[in-house]
Amino acid sequence: MTALAESVAGAGGVAPGTPARPSRRRGSGAWRFAVLLVLGVYFLVPIGASVWYTVRDRVDGGVTGRVYGAIPGAEGFAEAFGRSLLLAGLTVVLALLLMVPTVVLVELRLPKLRTAVELLTLAPLVLPPIALVVGVRSVLAWAPDYFYGTPVAEAMFALQRPSLPWILVLVYVVLALPFVYRALDAGVRGSDLRTLTEAARNLGASWPRVLGSVVLPVLRTSVLNAAFLTVALVLGEFTVASILGFETFPTWIVRISGSQAQLSVAVSVLSLVVTWLLLLLISALDRRRGTKESS
């Protein structure tokens, strides 16, 4: 593997030594083009083919947007999508409430804990969600087994109401930690938060005021980024919802795919493209703000 990686990385540089620069550039151009072409085809063909699959009319061979028009009215769509959006919103709020103070605190007061927090927040990235959900199921099974008739059991049952499963919110907060932490951490490192907060404190601002008027505005794009990645994660999460038996947006897609194949593909493609456009918009905002500040 080492050799493979090196040969890929080094493929741009196999030109003869003497006039190193120009020949290397030319060789690397052709190589770059080939990589972009092959991977471009690989990534664009499935999307293009899916769009074609959804707009072609099976009967007379024409093109129709009928499938896309049918999405909002599809059985169960509004309910599942609405629930997923609600879960996403709750997850974002909870994850930010948890992580913004943590990141700020680690940066300003407890830099020694940085490595520990980093490792802790990275854990969900590699912990298989299916293993996590097995654990969650076992914990939830305590309610009828050990706590029956106590308030604890009542609380645990309340977590699992099918209309708004709070347990999913809790699990999603854990799953979103790596993304939220990384986005916020990048924001904190990019800004000179320590100086700014010290200045604010010296001018007599209270800690809540520092958080509200200094930290949050500085971290605005990071917070936006974190929130967005969390929303994408929650809208696409299938494993946990499916194993715990709740119907969310992705489990709904899988459920209808048997009877309405075109509809399931249409919703899939639409969700991917819309998410991508939103992320592109956020990155554009980010950049505009960045250049404005630096100029």
């Binding site: 593997m1 290397r24 690397s28 097995v134 696409g236 992705p250 493609v269 992320l279």
Partner: protein, 259 residues
């Protein structure tokens, strides 16, 4: 933080409480052993392929001179594909090269050739779909490391008369090796844990641990299947833990150069 920690700590405890050596020996035999091997094999192959292709793509978009737009397009698309999850990808591929897929139909109707016995409902098919989110993940992970390669190193090597190959062999390669290895581990863990894609694509016809766990959990027929699922999950956690330990070790070595 506390809630999260408590949450995570409870998982192993519940495993241990319901343990009996019976389920542990059971999962090292027969179909479960096959499932572990299948998962490991699929993850290893897709992780290496994804790492190589992702690295190539990352280098290609970073080298582009007028490529700011291209770069942003690729990076945001990578963010979506790597995070959004497998269900939409599975359906996009079904519509493309599945049994009724557009490309399948085009190949067999217009060109008169089929897919040559290829089906999505196989290990190869899964690998093709997995790469669709593993390559973006590699790009996202490795771009910071590539950006940290200082141009001065390249210039110094050039001034000393090094060829491009020598530069990569003695400077770029050794510096990039730890992050590339680390990213490959991450890809491996991600492919190993993938469930949604496989579930949406193949049901449970391919031996994969995640599918077996889901089967065990939803089974009402076999007595003790729930414990079997837990044992399988524990096995996964252990394997991923090993990979993670290696990743942490690699990361420690990286920090020296790329800080």
């Amino acid at each position: 933080m506390l809630a999260v920690e408590a949450f995570r700590a409870t998982d192993p405890v519940t495993f241990e409480e319901t343990w009996s050596t019976g389920s542990i020996t059971a999962i090292t035999e027969g179909p479960y052993r096959r499932a572990y091997l299948g998962s490991l094999q699929l993850s290893a192959i897709t992780a290496v392929l994804g790492a190589v292709l992702g690295l190539a793509l990352a280098v290609a978009i970073l080298r582009a001179r007028r490529g700011r737009l291209l770069r942003r397009l690729v990076l945001t698309a990578s963010g979506v594909l790597a995070n959004f999850g497998g269900v939409p990808l599975a359906f996009a591929f079904l519509a493309t090269i599945g049994g009724q897929g557009v490309v399948t139909a085009f190949l067999s109707d217009t060109l008169g050739i089929g897919l040559g016995g290829f089906t999505l409902q196989s290990m190869t098919g899964l690998a093709v779909v997995y790469l669709y989110f593993l390559i973006p993940l590699m790009v996202l992970t490795i771009v910071p490391a590539l950006e940290a390669l200082r141009p001065q190193w390249r210039e110094a090597a050039d001034n000393l008369g090094a060829t491009g190959w020598q530069y990569w062999r003695h400077v770029g390669g050794p510096v990039l090796l730890p992050p590339v290895l680390g990213a490959t581990m991450l890809l491996f863990a991600s492919a190993f844990a993938a469930y949604a894609t496989a579930k949406a694509l193949v049901g449970s016809s391919v031996p994969l641990v995640t599918l077996q766990i889901a089967d065990a959990l939803s089974s009402n027929v076999v007595v003790g299947a729930e414990n079997l699922g837990k044992a399988l999950a524990l096995g996964m956690v252990l394997l991923v833990g090993l990979v993670m330990a290696f990743y942490a070790w690699v990361q420690k070595r990286t920090q020296r150069w790329l800080s």
